[in-house]
Each structure stands twice: as C-alpha cells, then as structure tokens.
Symmetry: C2
Subunit: 379 residues, 2 copies
C-alpha cells in the first residue's frame, strides 16, 4: 500500500520524481544540443542513484569536491574529476587509493601542490590528468589567468605521471538573472580566448576547457572554447535558482516537508524546519527570508532556530493551524541535502521510493579494490 | 602509537578534552552552588558519551529536541524532556515507543496539541509529565504568560494521563553580554513571579520552573523560582559564547581543524572548511565573519562556499602557505556538530579518542524495549 505524505514524520526532504526527471532530461538535452561534455557536480545530491541517472543520460563523468564523494561515486563511474585542491598527505592518500579503473582528473591552482601530487601518483603507479584552475572573477581559488596559468600548466607538464589536460574555472561570481548575463558571458569569452591563445603559443593546447555551474548553465555555450560543464544544483533546483530565472518555480524538485507546530505568537506560524533542516543560506536573488512555501511563495521563513522556522503571515490571508503540513523551497538546496541521511521520492502525494545520501559526511569508504590481491590476506 | 593531529584529513572537528572536562565541571558546580537541577540540552553534542559525563556530574536528566535524540539518549538516561511541541501522529508514535522505563516530560504551548498527546499516552499506558511552555520575550513558541498559560495548565490537568509538572521558558532573546544582563534578568524575574502567583491562585502550583540556556546560564539563579536549567552549548562553547562573555576564549573546546588549500588570490588564504563544516551562522556578539582562528582571533573567515572558507589576511602579518593547518572557532557550534558523523578528542597535539554523533539525523532507532515480549518473535 502506498504511503501518503501525511504519514511521514517531519521535517523530511521530499523530491518530486517527475520534476527530477524533467530537470535531468533538460540539462542532458542542453549539453547534447551544444556539444558540451556534461560532468555534473555530485555535491548537490551526494547519491549514486541520481549519479547513475545522470550517466545514463550521457554524462561523461562526475565532478566531486570531497574524497568521500570520490569513493562513493567510484562505485558507479570510472571517470571522476576532483574539483578541489589536492593538498595534504591524508587527502592524497585517499585519492590514490581509488580503484585503478577510475580515470582520475584533479584541479590544481598552485605550483606548491604539484610535486606531492606527482609523487603520490608515482607511488600509486597511476596516471593523473590535471586541470589548471583559473580565477575568472570569483576570487576564491584559481590562478589569475594568462601568464601564471601558463606557467602552472608547464609545471604540470614536467611532472609525470601528471598530464596537463586542460583548464577549469568556476564562474560563481556571475549571479545575475539569466537574461542579464550577457556582459558577464562576454567577459568570460574574452578571458578564455586570451588564455587559449597563450597556451597554444606555449605548445600546451588544452584538451578540455571546463566551465559552468547551474546559474550560468543555459548560456555557457556562448563562451567559445568551453567543452565541458559541471552544474550541480539543476537536479533539484532551489529558490535562488528560480529567483535568477535559471529554472521555473515548478522545476523546484526538492522541498522540505514540515509541520506547523505552534501558532501561539500572533502574526506568525512556527514549523519544525529550522537551520538543521533548511540551513541558513542567503537568497541570492530578489527577495528575503530563508525559504518559502511551494504553493504560497509569498509566505517566507523570516527567522530560524535549530529546529524552528518562523513563517511571517503578514503578506497572506492564509491562517495555518497547528498540525498543518507545508512544503518549503529552500534558498540553497545543496546544504539542505547535507543535513539529512535519506531523501524521500514522491509522485503526487504518495511516497514511491527513498534513497540514502551516501556521500555526505567525511568517513572513508571500504572500497572494492579491483587491483587488490585476491585470496586471503597475508597475516 | 599516538596519532598526531597533523596526520588527520581535514576538515575535522576536534575537541580539546581538558577544556571539555573543565566546561562540564564548571556548569555542574554552578548548578550545585545555586541548587538548580541541571538538565542539559543534548542538541549541541548529540552524543551518549558526553551525556553520560553530564549525568555522572549530577545532571538530573536530559533535554532533547528531536525524537531521534530521545531514542538515542534513552540508552543512557531514564529521565528525558522533549522540549519541542509534540505535534503530528508520527512524532507522537515515536514518543510513545520510548522504553517504558523512561520518565517522559513534554513541553506544550497549545491546547490543540493536548487531546492527541493524551490519547497517545493513554494507548501506550504511560504517564506523561507536561511543562507548559511560556514565551517570555523570544517570540518563537510559547504562550504569552499569565492567563493563557494558566488556562493551558488547567487543560493539561484535566487530560489524564498527562500531569501538569511545571512551566518552561527559553530566554533566547537575551543576547547581551553577561555583565549587561541585569535588566533582562529583572524582567524575567517579574514575569516568573506573576505567573507563579496566578498558578498558585488557580491551585496549579508548578513543581518545576525550567529556564536557562548557555548565554544566560551564569545569572539564571537571579530569577527567583527557577528550579531547573537546560544549557546545551556550554560543553563545547563557541565564538558567540565567548563574545558575550559567557565563557573565556580558552574555554572553546571544539574547533574545526582545516588546511590552507589555496593562496592564489592575493590578500587571502582559502581553507577547506566552508558551510558544510562551519555552517553559515551569524556571530551574535561584536565582530564579524563566520569563524576565527583559535590562536589568531583577529583572522576571520569572511566568505564561504560549501567546501571553501576564505581567511581575510588584511589584519595580520601572518602569511600562511599552502598545506598549513589552522584551528577554527565557529560562531555557533551546535550546527557544526550536525555536519559531522564523528568528533575527534585530542589532548595537546595528539588524538586520544573519538566518538560518533549518534543522535544526528532523523532516522528511527531500533530500541531495546524493556517492555517488549521476550523470546522468539511470533511469525
């Protein structure tokens, strides 16, 4: 017998499976249309099940930000990008313990990190592809383009078994609405063209130019030379993504189901989703609050404690009662998923399935090593 | 052989065991000195190990905010307060499945929630103590005091097997420095006195008046009538607690160990602790940023992404190198603990132990029912 949503204990993250499928299909179609390699970032879903759906729709590989994400995803994919600086002996060790069947690419932005990476790869007898990470305006990580990027590519090139494979950038500074991204896209195109020319002059033609993110996902094909995109958020979407027009409100696939637990203080209703469910992430679009109701976007969560969210009722005639259920669209879905161990998949008002958030957390995974000695272990 | 901190993969939450012991001892001594029943809130640590340390130091019971916290804590404690509105059938079911050996107290702030709670208690054949939750200024949950609190107490009283046990309040609106809390404490004292009088007049003398929180922990004895306190954060403390003077900087027991992964952008250093490690919680004290260095509090995290924290180097001569380790004091430790599955206990620079964050997440726990039928299950 199907389980009705009403019977679930709250707060619980629920995913509308039809919307999820639509989102997966739409991005796959975009990548195909523009001949872009789609290498989705798994940070949003941290789930092998959704990763498999992405691969079945033509994704060439996956992008990961943590060693645990790499380990978990190695069970379903043999082409993984570690889009994070490979710094620290413990991190390098875990990287190199990935199954040898995995083709591993690592992004680097410092010459200092290269000798240790090369030594670890050597010891593990594995080739490692390297993207040079460039900063095109976000000012987080990444060398500033032009000469220092070329110098870094050359350093990679001289550190076998590392192989210079291309450049990567994360345009996280572009936060405007999709229709207003023209200037930003033009600037990126200029930066990428300059960099390409310099690399060609240096005899270091990049095989891959990897860009993209969900906010810029639908216009990245306007940057000539980009061959690969790494969107993450698009599978579930969120209030920010809808707010900048990179998806429709109806494409928000993940909501947090919550219960009204108190109406004792006039003018507000308190739900059982606070920072430990919704996270305290700013809306990076017009508007305010921490989340809003799926079916009443004008009702927003204006205050939160760890397990309480306060709905402001001043812009609505709706008067909820204790026990009512609501579905909340969070500002930033990636942090919401991180709070939970399991996601519930729904169709209409019924639970159809659920899946674990396998790659959340940091713990090491006991990998099935395809290159491990078979038979009993030596004592 | 002891493991040195340097060998840990980052980001990782580490707890200085000497500081933890000091914090546990100090709060226990305060409660003893002022004859207050200490019922610590487990939301901060979500760990049976630390709960056991609290109980060994004289805590009369524990306070929980989620059903999972109750289930996990029922393994080490038989006196649990559910300081959360008991709304929703699924939540009530889990509440009533707690081992019958647990003396359960529930906080309520609405008459609507009482019939269902009483019915569930009846079906489970268990007595349930009830605190009436009053709002003394936080404006989150809780009835406004005086007449409506008395009415609610009377409703509880007429719904056996519920037993009116007392009143509870959470003074989360008091955020001033400890030395400036005089007026707020005076106002609380006035409110509590009025309420006590009304309840006495109604023949509903409260056995317990439960208040407190870490920010107000050291002055709650100045509110006459308060018999119980529920601080949580004090075990680990954080940047906000130190900022308002409710602990010393040296009492911050939990830090996030992180690694400098990039210095590519001038004027800053990027560490591998972002919102998925530090959480994006405001500093509720003077200052800015999301966290600061334990040994250089003037260096703060000014920007974050999911796995990146940006240290602003403009107020320091310190020039970190890629690979350097730092220890970060977060603004709000409770949300940090929620991001991780395991906490590492250190003494000096060496790892001494670790413990799981057992009560994080929402999943149901398979309880050892002391009232379950013994022997093989019926088929």
């Amino acid at each position: 017998m199907a389980t009705h949503l009403e019977t679930l204990e709250t707060p619980v993250p629920i995913v509308d499976l039809d919307r999820l499928t639509h989102n997966l299909d739409r991005m796959a179609a975009y990548a195909t249309l523009h001949d872009l390699r789609l290498r989705p970032h798994v940070k949003t879903h941290k789930s092998t099940r959704i990763a498999t759906e992405q691969l079945q729709r033509g994704a060439v590989g996956l992008t990961c930000a943590t060693t645990r994400e790499l380990e978990i995803m190695s069970e379903v994919c043999d082409d993984l990008l570690f889009a994070y600086p490979p710094v620290g002996a413990a991190r390098l060790e875990r990287l190199m313990r990935l199954p040898s069947s995995v083709r591993l690419t690592v992004a680097v932005d410092s010459a200092q990190s290269i000798p240790a990476l090369a030594m670890a790869a050597n010891l593990a007898r594995r080739d490692v592809d390297v993207y040079v990470e460039v900063d095109l305006g976000m000012k987080r990580v990444g060398v500033t383009p032009e000469h220092s990027a070329v110098a870094l590519a050359r350093t990679v090139h001289t550190h076998a078994p590392l192989r210079f494979a291309g450049i990567t950038f994360y345009p996280g500074h572009v936060r405007s609405r999709v229709e207003d991204q023209g200037d930003a896209v033009g600037a990126l195109a200029q930066q990428v063209a300059t960099l390409q020319e310099l690399l060609l002059d240096a005899g270091l033609a990049p095989r891959v130019i990897s860009g993209g993110s969900t906010p810029l996902a639908w216009r990245i094909h306007e940057v000539p030379g980009v061959t690969e995109v790494r969107p993450g958020t698009y599978v579930y979407n969120d209030r920010t993504t809808a707010g900048i027009g990179a998806c429709d409100w109806e494409d928000c696939a993940l909501t947090v189901l919550a219960t009204v637990v108190s109406t004792a203080v006039p003018g507000q209703a308190v739900v059982d989703a606070g920072t430990k469910a919704l996270a305290r992430e700013p809306l990076r679009a017009d508007g305010d609050g921490w989340a809003s109701l799926l079916d009443r976007p004008e009702v927003v969560v204006t205050r939160m404690s760890e397990e309480h969210g306060v709905l402001d009722l001043s812009h609505t005639d709706w008067r909820p009662r204790v026990g009512d259920r609501v579905r909340l669209v969070p500002n930033h879905v990636c942090i919401v998923v991180q709070q939970f161990d399991e996601i519930v998949g729904i169709r209409g008002d019924y639970v159809e399935t659920s899946w674990p958030v396998l790659a959340r957390g940091r713990g090491a995974v006991d990998l099935q090593q395809d290159n491990a000695p078979r038979g009993p272990r030596a004592m």
